[in-house]
Structures are given as C-alpha cells and as structure tokens.
Amino acid sequence: MAILARIPLSLRVPLFAAILMVLAGAFASQQVLSTLSRVQDDRLRELAILHVESLSVALGPHVLREDIWEVYDVLQRASGERRGQRMVFTAVTDRDHRIIAATDPRRAPIDEMLPQDLEAAQSPDNLSIPGDGARLVLTAPLAYQGRELGDIFTELDVSDLVSERRIAGLYLLLGNALATGVLAVMGYVAMRRMLRPISRLAQRMRETAQSPEPIPEDDIPSGDTEVTRLVQTYNAMAWAIDAKAETERRLAERERFVSLGRLSSSLAHEINNPLGGLLNATDTITEYADRPDVVRQSATLLKRGLEHLRDVARATLDHNRLDRSSAPLSHEDFDDLQLLIGPEIKRQQQTMDWRIEADDAAIARFASAPLRQITLNLLLNASSAAGRGGKVELDLSAASGGLKIEILDSGSGLSEEAEYRLLSSGPVQPGGGVGLRLVHDLVAELGGTLKAERRDGMTVISILVPFGDPEGRAAC
C-alpha cells in the first residue's frame, strides 16, 4: 500500500482502470469456459443416456435369454465402425459384474470379471468431462421389463471435447488478453487525458510553491466540470494569495513609516524650538550690525542651531533613503537613532541608557537598514510602554557568533497581542504596536532569534543576529 501511495494519482487511476479491465476480462473468460463446460457436459450426458437407454432396449431380450452372440452382435452394430466415434468400448455384465459380452472381447473376455479400469465409472446423470483425461467411463443398469438384468459400461472418447475446451480456452485467453489489453490501454489513455488538467495543476503548484501563479485561461478545460471548477478555484486562490502578499507588502511599507509618523511631532518640536533662538540671532545681527562681537556671537549661535537642524534632517533622510540597504551598519547609525528617539524621550520626560559595546568591525558586518529599522521600532515601543517618567535602555554588544541587541523598558510588559505579533508568524490584523510584525519578519530574514522576557522589573526584548559571510553583509 505504501508503494501504491507513492505512485502519482495521474498514473494510479489509469492503472487501476487497466487492472479492472483485466479482471473483468478474466471473469468473462471464466464464465464463458464454465458455460462451455456445462454445455458439453449436458450434451454428453444426453448422448450417454440415449446410448444406454437404446442399448437397454436392444440388449434386454438377449441378456434375458443369455444369448451371448446376439448381445455381442448388437454391441458391435451399435458401436459401428466409423472413425472418430464417441463410444470406444462397451461391455455388458450381469449383476455381479461378470462379463456377458463386450465390443472388445480380448479386453473383457466373457465370464470374467469387469476390468478394474472400468470400475470407476460415472452414472449418466452426473456425468462430467474430466479436465485433462481423454476418456471417461459411464455405467447404467441394464433394465428390461422392469427387471435389472445387469449393467452396461461404456467408455467414451472425449478427447475432442477436451481439446475443444482447451482450444476455446486458449482463444478466449488470447482474445480477452488482446481485448482487455486494448481496453486497458484505451482506459489508461482516457484516464490520463481526463486527469491531465489535474496533473498540470499539481505540477504548477509544485513549481510555484513559494508564490502560486494562476493557470492561463487558455489552459482551463472547457465546460463546467469538476476539474474546470477546481482550476478556477485554484486561480481564485492564487489571485487571493497575490492580493494578500501585496497587502502585506503595503502593510510592511506602511509600518516602516509608522515609526517616523510617530516621531514627526517630536521632530517638529525639535526643529521648531531652535527656530525661535535662530530668528532672535538674526534679529540681533540685523539690529547690531555695527557691533562685530555681537554679530560674531549671534552667528556662532546661528551656526550651532542650523547644524542641529541639519543633523535632524539628515537622520530623518537617512532613515528613509531607498538605497541605504547596502550601506554597512556603523556607530553613526546608532547616533542617528539616538537623535531620532531623543525628542520622544524628552517629551515623555524619560531617562535613557545607551550602551554601545560592540566594536566597529563587528557592527560593520551587518547592513544598516534592517537593524536601524528593528532598533527604532523596538525603542519607540519601549518608550511607549515605559510611559511618562519611565526608563528606556539600549544594550548593543557582540555576542558569540553574532550581534546582540537588547531593548529594555520599565513598562508593565508586552500584551498578549503584542507578544503574538512579535514572536509568531501567524496572520495578524493591521495596527497594534509599532511595526512589531516587521521586526519579527526582519529578524527572521537575517536568520536571527527574538526573545521577550521580564528581568528585574524591566521588559527585555533580546535579538541575536548571527554573523553571515565575512565578506558579504547580512542583507535584508
């Protein structure tokens, strides 16, 4: 059964049909042979009964008078001298099986006991042709005028019937083998043809296992058969998967901007706050243009303010630059992250510990984009969870075989839904947490592991991303 289960359906069904054809052929042959055998038996039985009855009538008076010559003469005339005759030998005995006369007196001499080879004789009523023997012996009582005078034993030559049966069997076997062979092949071809759309569907599913592709309209079988409906259902499913993938892609894209969206308010403050001082500086320069010292002091102030604005703008731009994926991770990326998260920390009046212990060489083995996105999303979530006056920490260290990033917050811990989004691969609804599913997907792409735990009253999210190829960076 295991072997059978390994055979593809497109082969198994036609083979099964072929086997059924062969079985049907064999059954039909058996039925025909059995009918032939029955007809032959009936014919022979009829012949035997007729033979015995006519002999009884002819022999009765002679046996009664013990007229041996007449018994012999009747037997001789009854057996005839034609070639290919059915009755090859007949003997008449008294009730003690002592020979009165026989067609071949040398084989059965008068007054002697019946030859042993004739003892195993069949009665005409249940006479049946043996499967292999060429001759059979039948016996019937010799009755005359209501008296049983003795017995008649007749040896029948049934070689022609046995041969006829054998030849019929052979022809049947050959004919049926040919017919079932042709039918089996036709059945096989027809089944293969009928199952071709399913085979094509299975092949398509195998080839496009990662992203199922719909089957072209031209290849869909015409009509409203089960197969047509199956292919149409498959196509609908493939389109649905496409649509879902697109939705997820858009969702991921959106999640990437969510972090910036969350930061936009505090970043606006970060830009707006120095703007007042900068405008004051320009007013001072305008008003005290003739006082070089005041102008110089204001210009210095102006420069420092503009540099801060430039840093904020650069950090934001860097985060969204499309070609940054290939750039290596550096300490500047963490400075940018600190700059980006800083206003939010300040707004929430939180304290932040920032520990970067990994060296440049270890950090540079990773691409910057995915790790920046992961870290920023987790920091935003940590800040949100820590609440006003809370505490957020970042620990970056080189662990054995990889880079370890730990984000800690003083919040009450991950909700069940947030933990599901962060740690599992199951389907999720949009929203809830700042790109936690994106964090999960990015870490998975990097071949890393994610862990969430509570430690000393803090919520700790640990990420371990392994070092990839020393030359190439773990790209997202």
Partner: protein
C-alpha cells in the same frame, strides 16, 4: 370425362389387365426356405437367386429366411414353403418326410468338410487342446457347425458342457468365424465351404482365424422338399431350374456368387457319414 384422352384410356386398360393377372400369379408363387448354411447376409446373393429362379420358373419366387435350421425345417414340414435349402443333419432327422431335390456341387464334388477353427494366435493342434476354452457352434441342427464337433467329443465321452468352459450358438457360419476372429470365443465349428468362400471374399476375417482340424468329407447341405409334394409340377420345375443353373446366364451368376459348380442329383448315401455321427451322439443320450 371430356378430358380423357387416348393415353389415359390405354394406361387404365393396362392397369386393369395387371390387376386381373396378379391373382393368377399369386396362386403359383414358389416359396423357398433358406437357412444360415447359406451366406444369407449377402443381399446380392438373395436377389440373384430370386431373379434366376423367377426367370426359369416363370412364377414369383418368395424366399423365406429364418434364423435357425429348426425354424426353416419346420416351415418345410408344415408346408409353409415348397422347398428349402437345409443341412444334411436336419434332412436326416426328417428323412422319412423329406426328399432330396438337388445337392450343390462344390469343387467338383457333392461333399464338404467341417472345420474346427481357432484364433490365429491360438497354438491348439487338435480339439483336445481346446479343453476349457470358449467355443462357438453355428446351430444345434447344423452338421458342420455342431454335429461333427459334438460327435468327436462324444467319442471321447465328453459333451460340450463338460469339455468347454462355455459354448455359444451364433446361428450363422459367418458369425462363428467373426466370433473367433474377434476373440469373443477361442474356437468354433464352422462349415468348411463357408470358411473357404469367406477366405476368398473377406480374407481380413478368416486371416484372424486358423483351421485347427478338418473333418472327413461329408454330404453337402441339400435342397429338400416334402416327399408328398416332390412330384408336383412346380417342385419338379424348380428342380430342373436348379440343375440348369449352370446353363443360364442368371443361374451362372448365382453359382459364381456362391462359388459353386452347379446343382445335381445325388444319392442319399452321401450322407452316411453324417448319419454315422448322429448315431454316435444318440448313443451318448
């Protein structure tokens, strides 16, 4: 009636003449009894005899065949037949009532022999070697097919029942040859003339037998009539017809089929040999 033409009238007249003539012919039908000494299984022989006799006698001939000598002799004695071809033995049994009409001439003589035959592979050299065997007789009233062997046994104080394990009657000399040839019985008593004719006509049959011994020459089976009818014109015409067989075409044909030379008058003394054998078995009784 208007449609009756000349041919119809002539045909009708012919039919009337035939019908008138038939009773006259029927009254003069000659009836001849035949017995198994004869090759009575041969339809051609029967037809030839009938044709030849009808041609010679000019009357209808009715051939009466019976299975046994006793039956044919009975027919002759009761007058149911005008003449019969018997055997020397029944002729002698009823010699006071029967007269010899004619005796066949075979190989120039009115004599024949009885053959004791056995299967071709049977090594018996004489009758005594057949003790305990199965034996076929032709007819209990046959000279060659019974009397000769039984009288031989009687001379040794035996009867068929004491000498043979079993003896059967086949009621035909040809049947005796068949019974021995087929192996139904080991030996048989047969008319020597019949065996010789069979040897010429059916050699495949006689080839499977061999003659163990032959009897002395005895009188050939005669054609007899009742003494009281012997001198009637029809019986005399019949006798003459037999004597003249060798001179007529149809008669010669019969003689050729029977392998006989002709028919002749013979003295009853040719049956003395049979008579002597009859005496032997009568003493035993």
């Amino acid at each position: 009636m208007a449609n009756i033409n000349r041919r119809t009238v002539v045909s009708g007249a012919g039919l009337a003449v035939t019908c008138l003539a038939y009773p006259a012919l029927a009254r003069t039908t000659f009836r001849l009894g035949l017995s198994p000494v004869f090759l009575d299984n041969n339809a051609i022989v029967i037809e030839a005899i009938q044709e030849a006799l009808e041609a010679s006698l000019g009357v209808a001939i009715k051939l009466e065949q019976r299975r046994t000598y006793k039956e044919v002799t009975g027919l002759l004695l009761e007058g149911a037949v005008d003449a019969a071809w018997l055997c020397g033995y029944p002729y002698l049994q009823h010699s006071s009532q029967l007269a010899l009409l004619a005796v066949p001439v075979w190989r120039g003589r009115v004599l024949y022999q009885s053959y004791l035959i056995a299967g071709a592979d049977n090594p018996a050299a004489s009758l005594k070697d057949l003790r305990g065997a199965t034996h076929a007789f032709s007819d209990p009233d046959s000279n060659s097919g019974y009397l000769v062997t039984v009288s031989d046994l009687a001379r040794n104080g035996e009867t068929p029942d004491t000498f043979f394990r079993r003896s059967i009657y086949t009621f035909g000399h040809r049947n005796v040859v068949r019974a021995v040839a087929d192996g139904l019985v080991a030996s048989g008593s047969v008319d020597g003339y019949v065996w010789e004719v069979l040897a010429a006509q059916e050699p495949h049959l006689t080839k499977r037998t061999r003659v163990v011994s032959k009897s002395e020459w005895l009188g050939f089976p005669p054609v007899c009539a009742r003494k009281d009818r012997h001198d009637t014109p029809l019986v005399q015409s019949f006798k003459t017809a037999l004597f003249e067989f060798s001179e007529t075409r149809l008669g010669s044909q019969v003689l050729q089929l029977l392998q006989l030379d002709g028919f002749t008058d013979a003295d009853p003394s040719i049956y003395d040999g049979i008579s002597a054998r009859m005496k032997v078995i009568e003493t035993l009784r």
